[in-house]
Symmetry: D2
Subunit: 278 residues, 4 copies
């Protein structure tokens, strides 16, 4: 007898071994809610860029919102509950955008791409959440003589160097309650899944939102200082699946660097509040 | 101005940097057709199992076909054209099945899971083709004193050991033309993509077929001998995203080993003939 | 003209490119003295064993000292100055011993072996210091549900699992000044370098001491709790260069576990006070 | 009772677990003599350089011999018997030199440095043989559109790219018997082991020879074509233990490239004929 899909359970390929295992569903449907999950350190650098260049990275349903301020963030996660205590690193590039749809209005950081150094969260993040996650190597940042050096490479080709210097303790920001203006707030993404055999068509193509609320998040330390990021232009031979991504960033105008931040925190959420924008 | 999707071009997340790059679409839409692409060595072991156990791994639209003969295949690919000459390894588990739909009838190996040790082909294979690809480490097989030892692990937890011994040259099989019986032949898969926010619902869920024809494939050498495969039962803590997969194989009855094969070949195809079964 | 060795400078193979670079000599003879060097976290487990088994691991010039208390310590180092900010992990096994020579008397932990996951400190440590360093993989410990799990493997073969539980803050020990009894204190090693061509003879074979004093060391946090360590017996095929080491530990009697400790500290020294015992 | 060293057996740190395990001594003193050991592929590029620059890389006891022809060779070894079937890769740089001592006269390639991507053979090779082995990452060469690309990096910093093109089958050279002129032939090295505590002094410092004879070596295929090698100048921060080595090669004049060779062979020897030159 062939198996049947259990109603109400989440599935992911391969579907043949029962409901999926991941951040939003553990063994026997278990949820992951530990406040101790996710020990997080994030190193980020911001700069003002050319608004026209950023707009050209937005899918039709989004528009630039406010200043053309690009954030490049390298993040280390450890103690992840759904990975039974393991961790991984990420590198994301975002800028502020807004969505004005038939039903929903939303503003937030538009996450153009999120590199991760572990395939399992890449797969769940792309398919369940619509995050534009792809793979690269993200070794632990090197700290030396007051400088932190974050590196990203793919099969040995280094495509980004980010450096933070002069980091000094800063006030931990208190998150003001969001204004009650009917506008959704969070991280913006565009989910796209190609249709098999009908090349160029999609099984799914829709904007999605990661709501900003993260009740279990506790920020322990914030440092601020200066930073810079350098992208290394790549040939197809260097990055055959990603050179267009890296070269877009290498070609972004840097009008002015706007500082660097290191944030240490604990707590996360399972992102089961991820939703389609309509 | 936001970007627009170029009609007729394939896309994959992130869609914001132009058409996707992968096996079926290179820079400027280039196709990959080199007969030199894919230098392949495959080590496989077969055994007869319990048909009821195998049927329980089949989605509703498939049925067991013929003998309950499981094939475990560890494969090394190098010289891959779409990766600009790089390679990766895979580990697949399959058994014969059939599909009888409203329009299509197909028989072939049902590929329950395909581990790969590189995220880029995992992503393209899952999303464009519907292969049940997941990640693990697949180091090069160890050859010593006439035995070849293939190993699979995930973040250090070894979950499979396969050993081949007494491998002697065998005749290279000539592929007979498929009978003209209207039945499709190839590898069978079940594509499933979850829908964001509507947990338990799917953006896509359909059977797919990789047609058997591979005109550029040239088999250079076939060796046959004996083999055995051992799966190591895992706790959730050991393999938090995959223990159900490994434990299903660890629990499969091995009624009789049916030999081992090593095959060396060159040539492949871009799998753009992958199709939905209806 | 061939090069000549600069007098007073340290050298290491290859000697052809100028004085060596390492912990005790940087570019242009620079010393590494930053108090910020070495951010260290150490996870250790102790147990009482059979004194006769431990004595059998001692070279002729050493004797067991006091209780047969074995310490297994997994240590993570980051921010290492001589590596320009990089780090590495180690796994050591030691027990208390004494040396009574013609000139020197010394007591301390006898370091039977120190695995490290980076070749550069292995080479300098063996050749310059006489540490019995060998290589293995030492991934970051996994912390989950109150348990820390340290793992050691070699080319994928896991040979040790160590687990610490119930770790609670403890007092930071104040290091009492060593008694003025003429006895040297520190870590004991036996340096041995084989002579080329005269197989079985040695270029060097002598006991060495790492003096205990580490003025720049600052301990920030100590946690104590329970722990256990498990060694996995190996065949020659599993660990062809190290199975005798691992099997010796796998065969050690564990009479009683004596607790586990986590220590976080900063500061180190360059070990240029390493000395031969006479 | 402390252990004693077994006479006639080879030892290496840690000496506490019995005689050493390595290429020249296996379990119970076993020798490794299989003609199937070492499946080898070597990619090499040669160029003429400035003789004065090469002489400056020679220890006092050696002199340049003949043309200043530098060979850079990237080699993949698999099926290594003493590693129970595993393998590793190497990258060596050599040029012809001669030794005229009080007793011995020798000519051959002077191996300035040999990078390897596995610590175990680095340790045995340095200490037992006097090879100037150090560590780096040496991924499998990338073959694409008729070009083979060999890469060397250290913790992610790529310091060498070598490319071979237009490789065509060539005659397999027959090794003529060495002339009976009393001159030793093989690979030349300079072994140096520092003395602990007496910084700048040596426990051992002597020239050594790897005799050329390798009776079990069978060359299966030779290809010849063109090639080029590029070294990337490094700061201390990039390669804190090796930047002087890489920068010496980056600064070598390339007067004329002299072709590239790919050689496939099987068979090796245990190098127990390695000897001190006097």
């Amino acid at each position: 007898m062939a198996y049947t899909f259990e109603p109400g359970k989440m599935y992911r390929m391969p579907t043949h071994f029962g409901p999926s295992l991941g951040p939003r569903q553990g063994p026997a449907g278990r949820k992951f809610t530990s406040p101790e999950s996710h020990h997080t350190t994030s190193w980020s650098v911001q700069f003002l860029s050319d608004p026209a260049q950023l707009e050209a990275l937005l899918p039709p349903c989004f528009a630039l919102a406010g200043e053309p301020l690009v954030t490049v963030a390298f993040t280390e996660y450890t103690h992840i509950e759904w990975l039974a205590g393991r961790g991984y690193n990420t590198l994301g590039v975002s800028f502020p955008a807004r969505f004005d749809g038939q039903e929903d209005h939303a503003v937030g950081e538009f996450l153009t791409v999120l590199w991760e150094n572990l395939a399992d969260p890449i797969i769940t993040g792309r398919e369940e959440l619509g995050f534009s996650k792809i793979y690269c190597e993200l070794p632990m940042p090197i700290e030396h003589e007051g400088e932190t050096h974050c590196i990203a490479s793919w099969l040995g080709f280094t495509f980004m160097d980010m450096r933070l210097t002069g980091m000094a303790p800063a006030e931990i920001p208190t998150s003001a309650p969001a204004p009650d203006d009917g506008i959704l707030r969070g991280t913006l993404h565009y989910k796209y899944m190609p249709r098999t055999g009908e090349w160029g068509a999609a099984d799914a193509a829709y904007p999605v939102l990661t709501p900003a609320e993260t009740p279990r998040l506790v920020v322990h330390e914030v440092l601020q200082g200066a930073g810079a990021v350098q992208w290394h232009e790549a040939a197809w031979e260097d990055l055959p699946t990603q050179y267009t991504v890296v070269n877009a960033f290498a070609g972004l105008e840097i009008r002015e660097y706007c500082g660097a931040t290191i944030t240490r925190s604990t707590g996360s959420k399972d992102l089961s509040d991820q939703r389609i924008l309509k």
